[in-house]
Symmetry: C2
Subunit: 230 residues, 2 copies
């Protein structure tokens, strides 16, 4: 009898609960931990039970993207000024808000980039961005180019080619290493010598938020010029 109560206590499995558990698991332990068996374990259920609510693992990955982008869509609702007044500020505010959501799900960009099928939430998000540009006076053609130019940055992320700077890591070692390699990488070594703030002993020169905003503003400036050029 006791076990029966437990079973009743853990409310019925649904697609929604499976996907939310998947997002929580990835948040907590990273993407490699997101396996069907591990996910089932978190839900106090056998792995095979999941298949009654999702078709397969691909569907789980589609689903977690849906959940995360859904969070973004909720977060950006009502953010920023009226796009008819200032499309640039409206677009900028939305994108920076999206970025804040994705910072809570650092594994999500990697998953989003593996999705090939159209995702309703993503399409909806982009439809909203397109609406901002249209309200700002963009032709469909220029707006289309603009969306491509923003690319994944429109959702608030950039996949950096070098590992993010760890503020805890001793920058002194990295500095020493790169200075050793000044013969091989002269320009990088020079940049490092020029811009590292050695006073606090860390590589204080890669502020991800600042770099994201710099690149975003570069693109928004460019689009603004193209818009004015007619």
């Amino acid at each position: 009898m006791a076990p029966r109560t437990d079973v009743a206590a853990r409310s019925a499995l649904t697609r929604r609960r499976v996907l939310q558990a998947a997002v929580d698991l990835a948040d907590r332990e990273g993407l490699p931990a997101l396996t069907m068996r591990r996910l089932a374990q978190d839900l106090d259920v056998e792995a095979m039970s999941l298949y009654h609510h999702v078709a397969n693992k691909e569907a789980v990955l589609d689903g977690v993207v849906e959940v995360v982008v859904g969070e973004i869509v909720t977060a950006v609702a009502g953010v920023g000024p009226d796009p008819a007044e200032d499309w640039r500020a409206a677009l900028r505010a939305r994108i920076l808000t999206a970025r804040q959501v994705l910072l809570r799900h650092p594994w999500a960009p990697a998953v989003i980039e593996t999705r090939t099928a159209m995702n309703a939430e993503i399409v909806g998000y982009f439809d909203g961005l397109l609406g901002i540009l249209r309200a700002g006076g963009f032709s469909y053609d220029l707006a289309h180019h603009g969306m491509h130019a923003l690319g994944s940055r429109a959702l608030g992320f950039t996949r950096e080619l070098f590992a993010p700077t760890d503020p805890e890591a001793g920058g002194a070692e990295a500095t020493a290493m790169l200075e050793q390699l000044a013969g091989v990488y002269p320009h990088l070594a020079g940049m490092l010598a020029d811009t590292v703030h050695q006073d606090d002993g860390v590589l204080g020169w890669c502020d991800d938020q600042a770099e994201f905003e710099f690149a975003l503003d570069l693109l928004l400036d460019g689009l603004d010029r193209r818009l004015r050029a007619g």
Copy 2:
């Protein structure tokens, strides 16, 4: 005796041969086919033999990136004008050349983005780009921002959030679908109605090369303006 000759005929396994076989395999059959067992099979060897030349699968992935970026570094050598004369054209030529190389290895961007360790070839490539900006008069600080802004585009790729347009696919169906969804995605539907060249019946509006160049030029324009602004 005959088998002995065969063994001698297939030249000794080396790290280089393993990595080249891995690149060829991914080119031919895609990334999922690149498993240690399958790779060994292509080399007429047992899977475990590979571990005498590479530490593990991560090392294979590091290695294939090394090979592909090595191809890029070779391809861009001497391409474009003297950067001291025209940094913009020099940078543009290199990046478009890099893109041509990556088009031959469509699986490579996905692997590159999973690498966390610094890769000597990638660092070398970026050192070269940095040299172009320096020759063009950029401060280290602005050049650094510029590299971040270009991001993976500097290596010639952009990860598109929607599947690439298949020119063979019937655009009519997709059009019909999106027009059905005009109520849900009004701006996308409007864009589609406006820009699709329905005369040839395909979605002729996503020219990847043209979109890549549009975005690249937007960024180069922006950097040029920042440079002139001092």
